[in-house]
């Protein structure tokens, strides 16, 4: 544990170093490399904790923090699991950062000044995970928000970044405020803000529910739960890509950690309707997130919305866990929580992979607009292959890892009919349907993304002039892609990492099937559902080999190239005739977007004879903005205008105000007396 503490300290020191020597190219490389090393050490230690159950002293104390409460860092299986997830992403992002071209399509210079914040951001996230009191937790939490906010601002010269960063930090502050209040209520019994003391305080159901609501707001806003997700699709894309990868892949997981830590660990026995709320929110989040993702033109926004979707999936798992646990169904709670945590790990891996892949694309093309890309599979084969793996994984398709966690989530949902309370029982199939819809739409969204960006023909010179990126960038995406496959094929290996944690929080470990064949993932001991990645991989590889051999031995092996069918055009109609991202999304937009997002297509077609170009435009409105945030901001604005009158009164008015205050206060005091 002290080694983890030292590694975090090293990250902080690196921040200082980078602050001093941020301009120097060598220093940049060194800082990223050292960050990767520090993160790797922490990840290794966390892993060994999960495997061995101990890494020496579990708690270390430092002479900083509040005078009467020195900072204590501690580790348990929950921390360890999330430490592993977070630092896995951190290593990948750091390695990627070594080679990441400064000119990454953001057109910004002076990113070197923002470099110090990278290790600080990593440190902030790690502090949250090992904090064992509310102060340290919130310190790390805010530090994480703050440093990532500045990292977002590293692209401050771009249009929209400023607004994104502003909304981000204010929402983060809002979330922190909710968490602060929650911790305050948890500690209210004796004012002791250590987690150990909070665990010991029994809460009334009402108080526990208030704390639960606050945590849902606090952690949910950080994770990107609808309707508190609005900052996420703005802020995540605005940062440099490896930071986006961290924010989307990893920082949202820290928020999930906060949710689990407080609701499952500190609050105590949940009530069934908490599960219901979380479940329904998760379902809505998943579907809204993926629908928005489907309609984005900006690559990174698309990925950010997809993060919202995946957070929804994780939340569904957590909601089911709460519901099962409230009913004392421990085995099912274990299943649902395993699903959620498995997806935490998976999403961290494939979302990092995808964002880093987009970083490669940005480096190569300097573009974020999908409509300007195409055909990159020819220019950047390794990135394209890794990105394809990521797309399959995030679409929840076998044999990649995304399928495994979604499979587990579905298994948990299918068992939801055993719940006692009828509102949850009805909610479960509906949420299940939402999840199914979300997963299928995600596949559509990633077909669209991959198809438009990597396949087809280049839609602009940016894309046609692209070249493959540097080694460290390729290496990090390739390793992550490999991880996606390995976890998808050997899911049971990950279960052993999760099971100590499940035992700690649910009381029983996940019962991996024993009577069934080797490495099969099962939902229950006595059968239920099953999935075996190894068998699948072996079969697919064997069949592929056989098939290719057969086809090539007995069929015609020749092939030639030609121009494709142009619908009657004899000349090549060119890349503009390709389906675009917008046209791909059009059916979904018509079916779902018209009602949910007021999506409208506007076509301005010139009359025959006119020489101007036709204009096609899509307008969309986010209902969350329309119903929640715009009115809120509007009312604050109106209030501000009203109160602003106070600024420019005359001296006599101010004196009158003083007189009135005096009179009122005297009246109040008289009333009190």
């Amino acid at each position: 544990m002290s080694l983890i503490g030292s590694s975090i300290g090293l990250l902080l020191l690196l921040g200082l170093l980078a602050l001093i020597a941020g301009h120097c190219q060598r220093a940049t490389v060194f800082v990223y490399a050292a960050s990767a090393a520090a993160a790797a050490i922490i990840a290794y230690l966390a892993l060994s904790y999960l495997i061995m159950g101990s890494i020496g002293n579990e708690i270390v104390s430092y002479p900083i923090g509040l005078p009467w409460l020195r900072v204590q860092l501690g580790i348990d299986s929950l921390s360890a699991f999330f430490l592993f997830v977070v630092n896995l992403g951190a290593v990948a992002a750091s390695v990627f950062g070594i080679g990441y071209d400064k000119n990454d399509g953001h057109g910004s210079h002076g990113t070197g000044r923002f470099l110090p914040l990278f290790p600080l951001f990593l440190a902030g996230m790690n502090i949250v995970l090992v904090a064992s009191d509310a102060f340290t937790f919130l310190l790390g939490w805010e530090f994480m928000s703050l440093s990532s906010w500045l990292l977002v601002l590293s692209t401050h010269r771009e249009e929209g970044t400023s607004r994104a960063a502003n909304i981000y930090l204010v929402m983060a502050g809002f979330g922190t405020a909710a968490l602060l209040l929650a911790f305050g209520l948890l500690a209210a019994g004796n004012g002791d803000i250590t987690f150990a003391a909070m665990r010991a305080v029994p809460l009334s159901p009402l108080m526990a529910s208030v704390v639960f609501g606050l945590v849902l707001i606090g952690a949910g806003s950080k994770a990107g739960l609808v309707p508190l997700h609005v900052w996420l699709p703005l802020a995540h894309p605005a940062a440099p890509s490896h930071v986006s990868a961290l924010m989307s892949g990893v920082m949202t997981k820290v928020a999930i950690y906060g949710l689990i830590r407080i609701v499952f660990d500190l609050v105590g026995q949940p009530l069934w309707w908490w599960g219901m709320i979380v479940l329904v929110l998760g379902g809505i989040t998943a579907v809204l997130g993926v629908l928005q993702a489907m309609m984005q033109r900006d690559l990174k926004s698309m990925l950010a919305y997809s993060t919202v979707e995946n957070i929804g999936i994780i939340t569904i798992g957590l909601g089911l866990t709460l519901a099962f646990q409230a009913n004392g169904m421990k085995a099912l709670a274990a299943l649902a929580m395993t699903a959620a945590l498995f997806h935490v790990l998976n999403h961290a891996i494939f979302k990092s992979l995808l964002f880093l892949g987009v970083g490669c694309v940005l480096t190569a093309t300097h573009q974020r607009d999908m409509e300007k890309m195409g055909g990159l599979i020819h220019k950047m084969p390794i990135t394209a292959a890794a990105f394809l793996v990521g797309c399959i994984a995030i679409s929840g398709l076998p044999p990649m890892n995304g399928f495994v966690s979604e499979w587990l989530t579905f298994q948990a949902i299918l068992n939801g009919s055993d719940l006692v309370q009828w509102p949850v029982r009805v909610a479960v199939p509906v949420v299940g349907a939402l999840l199914a819809l979300a997963v299928a739409l995600a596949a559509g969204a990633f077909v669209r993304t991959y198809g438009v960006v990597f396949l087809g023909r280049a839609r602009s010179s940016h894309a046609s002039d692209a070249v493959e990126v540097s080694f460290s960038m390729k290496a990090s995406v390739a390793v992550l892609a490999l991880l996606c496959l390995v976890i998808g094929v050997l899911p049971t290996s990950v279960l052993s990492l999760i099971s100590p944690l499940i035992s700690q929080f649910v009381g029983v470990p996940l019962q991996v099937g024993s009577g069934l064949s080797w490495l099969t993932l099962t939902s229950e001991t006595d059968g239920g559902g099953s999935y075996n990645g190894v068998v699948l991989l072996v079969m697919v590889l064997a069949f592929m080999a056989g098939l290719i051999y057969t086809m090539h031995s007995f069929g015609n092996r020749t092939s030639r190239r030609s121009i494709p069918w142009g619908c009657g055009f004899t000349d090549d109609p060119g890349p503009v005739s390709q389906y675009t991202a917008s046209s791909f999304a059009q059916p979904i937009r018509r079916v779902f977007g018209a009602s949910l997002f007021s999506a409208r297509d506007h076509v301005d077609m010139p009359k025959p004879g006119e020489t101007r170009a036709a204009v096609f435009r899509v307008t969309m409105r986010d209902p969350v903005w329309d119903w929640v945030f715009t009115p809120l901001l509007g009312s604050i604005g109106a209030l501000t205008d009203k109160i602003n009158i106070l600024q420019s009164l005359t001296i006599r008015h101010y004196l009158g105000l003083m007189l009135a205050t005096l009179v009122v206060l005297i009246g109040v005091v008289a009333a009190i007396q």
């Binding site: 005359t650 006599r652 007189l659 008289a670």
Partner: protein
């Protein structure tokens, strides 16, 4: 019976100070305001004198002297000088609230001060309570005057009327140390001094004594 007489006289003087403060509230002509203020100073110094004599507190004589010199003589003279120097017209008025409004609000302030002061202190003598209530009323009237008047000189008089209220309270409470009066006198002197500077400053820049004109320069009005 001395206590009875002493009470009556103190009572009377206090009431007169309050009455004059009413007069200050309703008086509209600037020149007349200065004279009224001087009268208040005179009555106040008399009150201090009486208090000192009846309770045999010697430093109150000194207080009375200071009050008389400063409030009844130096300041009114200075103000008259200012008025002359700045060629303020003798009929220049500063209507404030108007008689009805000033009286209505003034009386309600008196009620407020009595309501707030009287119940608090069963232990304190009636006279102390009463003089405190009167002093508080004078103080509130001073504030009211500052709120309603626009002319720099009437504002200044309102300000000093507040100081008078304070003096009255200090006199009314037994044994308030001399330091207080001296400090008040000191403050008032400096106040007048600074005000004078500002008034000239304002006049140099703004060509008026109307405080209202200054409001044009208050920050960020739009």
């Amino acid at each position: 019976m001395t206590s009875g007489i002493s009470y009556d006289v103190a009572h009377l003087l206090g009431a007169v100070v309050l009455l004059i403060s009413f007069a200050l509230l309703v008086e509209q002509r600037v020149i007349a305001l200065i004279s009224t203020f001087a009268a208040q100073g005179v009555v106040l110094s008399l009150a201090a004198l009486w208090e000192g004599w009846s309770h045999n507190i010697h430093h109150l004589y000194l207080s009375a002297a200071i009050i008389f010199t400063v409030k009844a003589m130096i300041i009114p003279m200075t103000l008259n000088f200012l008025v002359g120097a700045m060629k303020v017209h003798h009929h220049e008025t500063d209507p404030g609230l108007g008689v009805g409004g000033a009286l209505a609000i003034g009386i309600s302030l008196v009620v407020l001060s009595i309501v707030s002061i009287f119940p608090i202190a069963p232990a304190v003598t009636v006279l102390t309570k009463e003089s405190l209530a009167l002093a508080f009323s004078v103080l509130l009237h001073g504030m009211l005057m500052m709120v309603t008047r626009r002319n720099a000189i009437s504002q200044l008089i309102g300000f000093m009327s507040i100081e008078n209220g304070l003096l009255m309270a200090a006199i009314g409470v037994q044994g308030m140390p001399l330091a207080v009066e001296v400090s008040i006198a000191f403050t008032v002197l400096v106040a007048a001094f600074i005000f004078g500077i500002f008034i000239f400053g304002i006049r140099d820049r703004v060509e008026t004594l109307d405080i209202h004109q200054l409001d044009l320069y208050r920050g960020e009005r739009h």
